[in-house]
Subunit: 331 residues, 2 copies
């Protein structure tokens, strides 16, 4: 929601880059590990472990989000959350975000102000101590939010995808399939022909509001990543493209097969296997160990021809992503 | 130049994200400080100082470059160089790049392969030991290259913009105005109406080829940033928007006036003051100190009403940037 009446909400094309950046940065306070924040050629962030974890992920209007469905606040929150999840999946604690915005001239100032609010609040809620330390603003016809997240391993080794060994447990922290259900609601209910239309909350049934929120403003369990590392996780990754696809990648990297238990995947195992964008944490633990917040969904077994089995059967689902091949630029 | 005949040079829209990423990453070897390179949720980079310098800068087709003038190789090189310069301007040594690409489906594979070559070669030439450690690939109608650069301070403090004190020397390392001259040649000579057309080298006069190269493939003196810090630089920044504008920012941050000597700015002082995109390093040094590769162009004096004087007169030039307000999307 804009914090001022629309007649005082200028188009970005009417403002200087400096004044837009000031409006954004006044909303994003420094974090506990920020040594030097925005305003110079570069930021300086503490890296107490003597190494830094770094990842980048971009949201592009069209393939990754639609303005008709997504507010500035939600977009900032989601862009932060998906990057924080990648840091957490290494077992690291997020320390800083850098945000590169490419914005159309006809976007309003309130939109990027709320975007900044979303970044700030996602950091506070999901990764306390992490903050926006730098950014870049440029003009583009296609709204694009490119985020880099940094993190610290707190003296531990990174938890990669390749450490799973037969006999270990396969475990999950976070939602499976809820964001995909939300996307299905958006595509099924809030379009006029091919054009997305704003979400009317009164038309959302039981559970649908939570599903739509999971899609638009995901809350991955960032703090559980470092906790899994402390507890002895042997491999970890975040589930962004669907459990089946991502578990297959972990199995591949580790040279094992993951044998999942369908009953552990909830009432809709197929959606849990196929649905992406929840950014749950998938991890493997030695027998008898399990980090708080994780639940066991299967076992690591000797490699068979298939990377992932569910109830003994090969899993053949493609991560469901209607955005991917959907070319309509409207909305 | 594509490394294969065009009939074996597929459109990106025909390929999977994974195969494009593999083609890119096979061309960018790890650096000396890369602990874990691409392929997992995040990279891990050594940060021997216990802190990390981080900056992000984006190049968008249209405002920042035109495909008619810029090859994939040049684009990769420039996107690396402008980010490396921001790290160097803090007195830090670049350690890693993260590259977020948003690419149109009708771009050819050879273009992004050459882009990767440009990133690799710019790192090798300008910042040995630095490497591409991670990235992201997404689809967009507008070709966008968002880069984050990381660096290490090697145990020193960061050199900010705010440390200049009256009595010190103002010095420069690198070109002033050459890239702007190159841009003027492109705009003046290589357009069909408003549409950019490819550069024909045979039409470039004496010195023009070097100017065009400075615009399309800049070589800022990255290694001199850490050297300036070692030598005792009190303030430093990279000159991206023109000397007059950027020196004004440094003067502002330091609460001083920079009194420049017009004779020290070369044969075309006006272009040296106004022209951006050379990414020269502007630094101040205590009396009697000067890092190798730097030349004195003036003195720091007590603050007057103006941030920057040239031969005693206030400088009133706007960084010259014909891209900025040029809306034509062609080329």
């Amino acid at each position: 929601m804009p914090s001022r009446p629309e007649n005082h909400d200028p188009l970005l094309g009417e403002l200087s880059e400096g004044s837009i950046l000031r409006a954004i940065l006044s909303r994003t306070p420094p974090g506990s590990l920020t040594i030097l924040g925005p305003g110079d050629d570069a930021a300086v962030i503490s890296a107490p472990s003597g190494s830094v974890v770094a990842t980048t992920d971009t949201l592009v209007h069209g393939p990754d989000f639609r303005l008709a469905w997504t507010s500035g606040y939600d977009l900032g929150w989601k862009a932060a959350a998906v990057n924080l999840a990648d840091v957490a999946a290494m077992g690291a604690r997020p320390t800083a975000l850098l945000v590169a915005l490419a914005v159309p001239r006809d976007l309003r100032l309130s939109f990027v102000e709320r975007l900044a609010d979303g970044f700030r609040d996602a950091c506070e809620a999901l990764a306390p101590g992490c903050a926006v330390v730098g950014g870049d603003l440029t003009v583009s016809d296609v709204l694009t939010v490119a985020v880099t997240a940094l993190g610290d391993l707190e003296g531990r080794s990174a938890i990669t995808r390749s450490g799973a060994r037969p006999g270990e447990s396969v475990a999950i922290a976070g939602e499976l399939g809820l964001a995909a259900r939300g996307l299905a609601v958006l595509f099924g209910r809030f379009r006029d022909g091919e054009t997305p239309v704003p979400v009317d909350p009164s038309r959302l049934g039981d559970g649908e509001a939570a599903a739509v929120a999971a899609q638009l403003r995901p809350s991955p369990p960032i703090g559980l990543g470092p906790m899994a590392a402390v507890t002895g996780a042997t491999a970890m990754m975040d589930v962004s493209d669907g459990l089946a696809l991502d578990a297959g990648r972990l199995a591949d990297a580790s040279g094992v097969t993951l044998a999942l238990d369908g009953h552990a995947l909830g009432s809709d195992a197929r959606r849990a296997l196929a649905g992406g964008e929840d950014h749950a944490l998938l991890a493997t633990f030695p027998e008898g160990m399990l980090a708080p917040g994780f639940r066991v969904i299967g076992r690591v077994v000797e490699p068979s021809g298939d990377g992932v089995l569910c109830d003994g059967e090969p899993v053949d689902v493609r991560g469901w992503d209607p955005y991917r091949d959907w070319d309509s630029a409207a909305g």
